[in-house]
């Protein structure tokens, strides 16, 4: 039996009096890659942020193994070390070099030996093709390179689960691939991941399970095959249609 790493139960999240997430249930197993899709504003980012205690929730629970994740609670610092998160916007620290960005949390938070972490960081940087950039500052990197560094920075904490929030959404098309390749590699290594993305091809390739969220609820879930190829709900079909382009000639002009 595979153990469950992350459990979300009856999660409810409101901003002011607008309900963003309503009764969301989700369990992520060890080594599983869950991809979340859904229209803009449906609450995908909010869900990931709740999973990392960045947002207060109104009711329900989120647990990493047995520990509750709750914004403002005392154990948050502990738990977050086990959850790696990469955001849409490049969030490297601009005053630190690539290497120092990566070393900061392992040395200051986990108090690990700097030499060990450095060796590990360089190895990971090499894996993503950025070893020669270790001494560069974030402003000297392209968007795709920054996101790869951000991924390495999260990995270097040896997290149990990785959360990715549209990490390629702000990138130029030719840089999307290099970042997605890194994530595919992580999936091959059987890392536990929750990925929010608008890249449907990628979702198909990487996911063990796809969730379609709309109006604050998980509308449909299943294998990529089930959800992306043969969606049962009309709403899912409508959403997926956005990514299809009909030939110009076939479009009816009314």
């Amino acid at each position: 039996m595979e153990e469950t790493i992350l459990t979300v139960k009856h999660l409810k999240k409101e901003y002011e009096d607008k309900t963003i997430l309503n009764d969301v249930d989700l369990a992520v197993k060890k080594g599983e890659v869950v991809v979340i899709i859904g229209p803009s504003g449906c609450g995908k980012s909010t869900l990931l942020r709740c999973m990392n205690g960045l947002e207060k929730t109104q009711s329900g629970s989120i647990k990493l193994r047995e520990e509750a994740i709750e914004a403002g609670s005392g154990n948050l610092v502990q738990i977050r070390q086990k959850i790696g998160m990469v955001f849409q916007n490049y969030e490297l620290f601009p005053h630190l070099t690539v290497l120092d960005n990566i070393l900061l949390a392992p040395t200051k938070v986990q108090k690990r030996d700097k030499k060990d972490v450095k060796a590990e960081a360089l190895k990971l940087l090499e894996r993503v093709g950025l070893k020669d950039k270790a001494g560069s500052y974030p402003r000297q990197l392209s968007g795709g390179q920054k996101q790869r560094v951000a991924i390495v920075r999260a990995l270097c904490m040896n997290p149990e689960i990785l959360l990715f929030d549209e990490v390629t959404a702000a990138l130029d098309p030719e840089m999307v691939r290099e970042v997605l390749d890194v994530m595919l590699e992580l999936a091959r290594q059987k890392r536990t991941m929750v990925i929010v993305t608008h890249e449907m091809q990628f979702a198909r390739a990487v996911a063990d399970r796809v969730l379609f969220i709309d109006q604050g609820k998980i509308m449909e879930e299943g294998t990529p095959e089930e959800v992306l190829e043969h969606p049962k709900k009309e709403r899912t079909q409508q959403f997926l249609n956005i990514f299809q382009f009909e030939k110009v000639q076939e479009r009816k002009i009314s």
């Binding site: 960045l54 070390q81 005053h95 949390a105 938070v109």
Partner: protein, 224 residues
Amino acid sequence: MPDLGLDVLWKGSNLLRLLGGLGVALRISLIAVVISIPLGLLLGTLMTGKNVILKFILKLYLEFIRIMPQLVLLFMVFFGSTRMFGWQPSGELSAIIVFTLWGAAEMSDLVRGALISIPVHQYESSEALGLTKVQTYCYVVIPQTVRRLIPLSINLITRMIKTTSLILMIGVVEMIKVAQQIIEANRTTSPNAAFGIYLVIFLLYFLACWPISLLAKYLERKWR
């Protein structure tokens, strides 16, 4: 070469007196800077805080100091203290008080600006990595704030040095005052002295402020 009356500089200890005047100006600025920077850091941090009443008071203070010409502030402290508190500060002390009040106000605004210019996602990504609030400030927020702040505060310091030229108005013998004394004393023998002396003063102010400006430029380039 036209007679600039530079010869008066070498008479007696005139040049030394001028330098002494510059020294007074620099001393006053330095003391004010040393006090107002930590004060400004504190007030600026408070200005980004949650306490609305405190923020309002600080805003009021900043606006008041900004609106008032420095000369008026100097007069208020120098002449007003006796009236208000029955206490007569010396000219130099009055100058230090005014420059400190002014420096702290301006500094607090710079600090506030630098702090709010740090994007929210810097805090969030730091916390997402497991850093505590304190660590986030120490390793992420403050280093970035300081980098933004240093060039700005250096400009403030040069402004303070230049503004010390006002304090002769409350009887402090700084460089301009010494110059006036020298020119006055040599009116008959060297009527052109005013040109020369003010030229020297120009150079001295320049020499005092230029290295500081250069440092600011250097840091700006290094950190941007």
